[in-house]
Amino acid sequence: MSAQIVEEILARLYTDIDFFESFTRSRKETLRGYDLDQAERASFDSLDISELMLATRSYGHKRSKRRPHRS
């Protein structure tokens, strides 16, 4: 079940700016309510925040354009 939670967290990071900003301030605190195991928490702890920021911006930009589907 936690595999689905990991995907939910990623999807939320990409779409919810408040959640994303909270995550950049304190990952542990932001993910406290999620049922993750120790390895999953450690993996989110080591996530490159600059890559995450780029990805989040890119998804936001694509959502705002919305026209052609890109792959």
């Binding site: 595999a3 689905q4 939670i5 990991v6 995907e7 939910e8 990623l10 999807a11 939320r12 990409y14 779409t15 919810d16 390895a39 999953e40 993996s43 989110f44 080591s46 996530l47 490159d48 925040i49 600059s50 890559e51 995450l52 920021m53 780029l54 990805a55 911006r57 890119s58 998804y59 694509k62 959502r63 919305r66 052609p68 589907h69 890109r70 792959s71």
Partner: protein, 307 residues
């Protein structure tokens, strides 16, 4: 003479096809120059649930082979795919009977959050098993197995235990799915995460590769580390030379006929420019096929001389 013989041998052995992604900007040109392309790729989400558009697609499919590309199913996930979306696809397929269809090694939603685009899931056992189940369900409902495309990602997915090619190989080996290899996505990931794209191709399950995407992108700076650049796959630029080189390398090593599609999503050049890119792709494939043919011929000559 030998050069001609090799070219003939390639033509006899392979029936590679070349086409472009259908976009409204090119609709008239595609119809007027249908003899210059072998196949057109259409995005299914632009047609499902729209009777008029489906009818226009039916007209197009009567004139030129079509391959359908989907972007919103989210097959590569531990989360089950939405059956309704598959049923919508199946209804589309009842009308147009495409040559093939494809999706992505990506998830697009989770926990009620719609990303609105393709995202790389964790590369682990959970997503492998979830993806295999989704492929089975999609194949059952749509009636045709998909080709899945490697995606470009700007973030290395957390909770991963496999590299990208390992993860893809595990999924395609345990399912009916084939691979649509997007060479610019591969180029972007190899640049952004520091691996060799040819090594990736060499390790990929090439017997499963049937389709290829070519597109372009641009380099962007990292927002927090200006010294670091990233390659963004934006489909707004020409196919770079390095992509054609990868296509030659792939064609040399892949045993299957390839369907090569050039994608463009903006900054649309004249249609003639797209045809020029298509010719470059044909030449790149031809170069790879000929190289393989010559190498095989060398081996057979060696065997002949030993017998």
């Amino acid at each position: 003479m030998a050069v001609v013989a090799v070219a003939v041998a390639v033509a006899v052995k392979y029936q590679d096809r070349f086409g472009i992604g259908w976009r409204p900007e090119y609709a008239a040109s595609i119809l007027m120059n249908a003899d210059e392309i072998d196949i057109v790729e259409v995005i299914s989400e632009n047609f499902v649930n729209d009777k008029d558009r489906i009818l226009s697609l039916k007209t197009l499919s009567a004139q030129i082979p079509i391959t359908v590309h989907s972007v919103s199913l989210g097959l590569a996930s531990s989360i089950p795919v939405k059956v309704q979306n598959l049923e919508n696809m199946a209804r589309l397929f009842d009308v147009i009977t495409p040559d093939a269809w494809s999706e992505h090694f990506a998830f697009v939603r989770a926990g009620g959050y719609e990303i609105g685009h393709l995202a790389a899931p964790p590369r682990n056992e959970d997503t492998i098993q979830g993806t295999i189940k989704n492929i089975c369900l999609a194949t059952d409902i749509i009636g045709m197995q998909p080709y899945l495309e490697n995606i470009a990602t700007l973030v290395s997915p957390p909770c991963s235990i496999y590299s990208e090619y390992q993860w893809i190989n595990k999924i395609v080996s345990a399912s009916s799915a084939g691979i649509l290899l997007d060479l610019h996505n591969l180029l972007a990931n190899s640049y952004n995460f520091g691996f060799c794209p040819k090594d990736f191709i060499a390790k990929l399950e090439l017997s499963k590769v049937h389709q290829v995407h070519l597109s372009g992108g641009k380099y962007i700076p990292n927002p927090l580390r200006p010294d670091r650049m990233h390659l963004l796959d934006d489909h707004l630029h020409d196919v770079p030379k390095s992509c054609y080189e990868l296509l030659t390398f792939l064609s040399e090593h892949c045993p299957n006929n390839l369907t090569v599609i050039i994608e463009r999503d903006g900054h649309f050049p004249a249609y003639e420019h797209m045809l020029l890119e298509l010719r470059k792709a044909k030449q790149a494939v031809q170069n790879g096929r000929e190289k393989k043919c010559i190498e095989n011929k060398g081996v057979s000559n060696l065997l002949d001389s030993q017998s």
